[in-house]
């Protein structure tokens, strides 16, 4: 369905993303995880072909969607895919809807544009989709403005907009980060159900390992603009090979007992301007040795997945 190979993105002279590869089949959910600034959203924007909006461009690699090379697709053809076959769900539902327009028309627009249906039909379809997303009284909601809705409801409306033209692939860029914890679970469950009911492919970007464990089939772990480990979820969670993946899994809160403290990873993600030489993770890595500061490890197959580390292996 979707295959990304050696994707590189540049903003002027700065290259925040390099060598990202993954593949996704129909009906599968792929998780992309990493801390803020690791290049997850850029990957999403690359797939949607929206990099030019922020001044970026794809400098190398390919994105193949349903047999079609997207990186060289003309804008007009890309526009047909966006909304039509590719749906995007953004991070912050508070700012993702046009505050000056009613909900109904904002969702209608997608079906009108891509399915060629008009007024009444488009509205009926919107109401139906809002209903399937468990929004109460969908017909009334259509005449409301975004600011009259709660965050969870807005995110459902954003999802409705992404689904309105029956896309094949949904890209969800941290769809729950801005929501309350209770609502987060609802939205994740909703996305999971949609994937199963509609045989959608879903690229789920998140920084929450527990979300990945619950919903994804495959996972790509990103750090400083690279994919450092990837593979089937079971394998990654059972035997993570990269020390960073191990640390991320170690950060999942496990229980409520008194002696359990929240775990973090010391240090911060380097910014694009000062990616370290060699392996980008070496300054924070417990296994780092001389070679790690000099040469960057390449992504090599290991077990069911692939890892980019000079000293891969199970946690000691």
């Amino acid at each position: 369905m979707l295959e990304v190979r050696d994707l590189e993105v540049a903003f002027g002279q700065i290259a925040p993303l390099c060598g990202v590869s993954f593949a996704l089949e129909k009906g599968e959910t792929l998780g992309i995880v990493g801390e803020s600034g690791s290049g997850k959203s850029l990957t999403a924007m690359s797939v949607m072909g929206l990099l030019p909006l922020s001044g970026g461009r794809i400098t190398a690699g390919s994105i193949i969607f349903d047999g079609q090379e997207l990186t060289k697709l003309p804008e007009a053809a890309y526009r047909k895919l966006r909304g039509g076959r590719l749906g995007l769900i953004t991070q912050n539902p508070m700012t993702s809807l046009d505050p000056l327009q009613k909900i109904g028309p904002q969702v209608d627009a997608v079906a009108r544009l891509h399915l060629g249906i008009t007024g009444q039909q488009a509205r009926a379809r919107t109401i139906e989709i809002l209903g399937t997303l468990r929004i109460p009284e969908p017909a009334l909601i259509c005449d409301r403005y975004p600011h009259q809705m709660s965050g969870g409801m807005k995110q459902r409306i954003v999802i409705a907009g992404a689904l309105a033209a029956n896309p094949d692939l949904l890209v969800a860029d941290e769809p729950t980060t801005a929501l309350d914890v209770t609502v987060q679970a609802q939205i994740i469950r909703l996305l999971d159900d949609l994937v199963k009911e509609r045989a959608l492919s879903l690229v789920l970007i998140t920084h929450d390992m527990s979300v990945v464990a619950q919903t994804c089939d495959k996972v790509v772990v990103m750090y400083a603009g690279r994919a450092i480990e990837q593979g089937p979820v079971e394998a990654i969670f059972a035997e993570p090979q990269h020390p960073y993946t191990q640390a991320l899994i170690g950060c999942i809160p496990k229980g409520l007992s008194e002696d359990e403290h929240l775990v973090g990873i010391p240090g911060t993600v380097p910014t694009v301007m000062n990616y370290p030489k060699g392996c980008p993770f070496h300054p924070r890595c417990i296994r780092a040795e001389d070679i790690c500061t000099k040469t960057s490890p390449s992504l090599l197959p290991r077990g069911d997945g692939a890892v980019s580390c000079h000293f891969p292996g199970a946690a000691p």
Binding site: M48, L50, L53, R79, K80, L81, R82, G83, G84, L86, G87, L88, T90, Q91, N92, T95, S96, L97, D98, P99, L100, Q101, A109, V110, L113, H114, Y145, H147, Q148, V158, G161, A162
Partner: protein, 298 residues
């Protein structure tokens, strides 16, 4: 809100006029007239009364629709205003329309263009337009378009062609201001998440610009245009004078020269009311455009 503002404005207008040195009687009586004549006139117009009494007399009459009688021009102030107002409204309205339409168009072009040359030209124009004073621009334009090229009349108010130069002069600064605000607002709103999502829905850029970006960009533009009403009227005062057009501005300047209190007060009050009306219309327009504002006002 409008009522207390109107009252304080009327007080300020009244006081400012009376603080000017000299009085209308000096302009009325012939040199060498006797002191008795002078006193008769002062008594006739009630200028011997304390200021407070004069103020309440004036404001009381205004509430009954009576703007008083011009001391020097010897005609009812209401007549003078009614005679001059249409000229000012025509000029102000045309200047307002010109600065909104041209400003919004230029601002949109400069925000959406990808050519660096066009953008720099726009920036230069905006800078120039915001800084060049109206009366000086008026003289330059008269010199060039009216005297040298003889495309338009130098002064007067005959026909539409006489409107062109004054409208350009008053509107020029407005065009630059509106263009700047439009440009900044468009660039701002373009960075919003919902715009990314609109692109992700596959909407063409043109649709996004006109259906989604422009309504947002118009919110600050409407605010600035509402404030601009006062600016345009203020600008019209000097420009009318430079171009020798009849109008509220010319009337006001002449009346100030003659210390014709009732006329000055009447003109200033009209200008102040128009400014307030502009602001009010601006607020109403904004509420009509933005559902979030409607909500908070309820």
């Amino acid at each position: 809100m409008l009522i207390p503002v109107s009252i304080s404005i009327s007080v300020v207008i009244f006081l400012i006029v009376h603080l000017l040195p000299g009085d209308p009687i000096d302009n009325l009586i012939r040199v060498g007239s006797s002191t008795e004549d002078r006193i008769t006139l002062v008594l006739k117009y009630g200028l011997d009364q304390p200021l407070a009494v004069q103020y309440f007399r004036w404001i009381g009459a205004i509430f009954q629709g009576d703007f008083g009688e011009a001391i020097v021009l010897r005609r009812p102030v209401a007549d003078l205003i009614a005679q001059n107002l249409p000229y000012s409204l025509r000029l102000g309205g045309a200047a307002f329309a010109f600065s909104s339409i041209a400003g919004i168009t230029l601002g949109t072009i400069s925000a959406t263009t990808r050519s660096a040359i066009v953008e720099n030209i726009m920036r230069g124009f905006i800078l120039l337009g915001s800084t060049v004073p109206g009366f000086w621009l008026a003289l330059l334009m008269i010199l060039f378009f009216a005297v040298q090229l003889q495309w338009f009349p130098v002064s007067g108010a005959k026909g539409w062609s006489s409107l062109v130069l004054p409208v350009l002069t008053i509107g020029f600064g407005g065009v630059a201001l509106v263009a700047r605000v439009t440009r900044v607002a468009l660039l701002d709103v373009r960075r919003e998440d919902f715009v990314t999502l609109l692109h992700a829905k596959g909407l063409p850029s043109r649709t996004i610009l006109f259906r989604h970006l422009m309504p947002h960009a118009m919110l600050p533009v409407v605010t600035i245009l509402a404030l601009r009403v006062g600016w345009i009227l203020g600008g019209a005062v000097t420009v009318e004078f430079v171009f020798g057009r009849p109008g509220l501005g010319s009337l006001l300047i002449r009346a100030i020269g003659q210390r014709d209190y009732p006329v000055v007060q009447g003109c200033l009050l009209m200008l102040a009311l128009t400014v307030m009306l502009g602001t009010l219309i601006g607020d109403v327009a904004q509420a009509a455009m933005d559902p979030r504002i409607r909500e908070t006002k309820k």
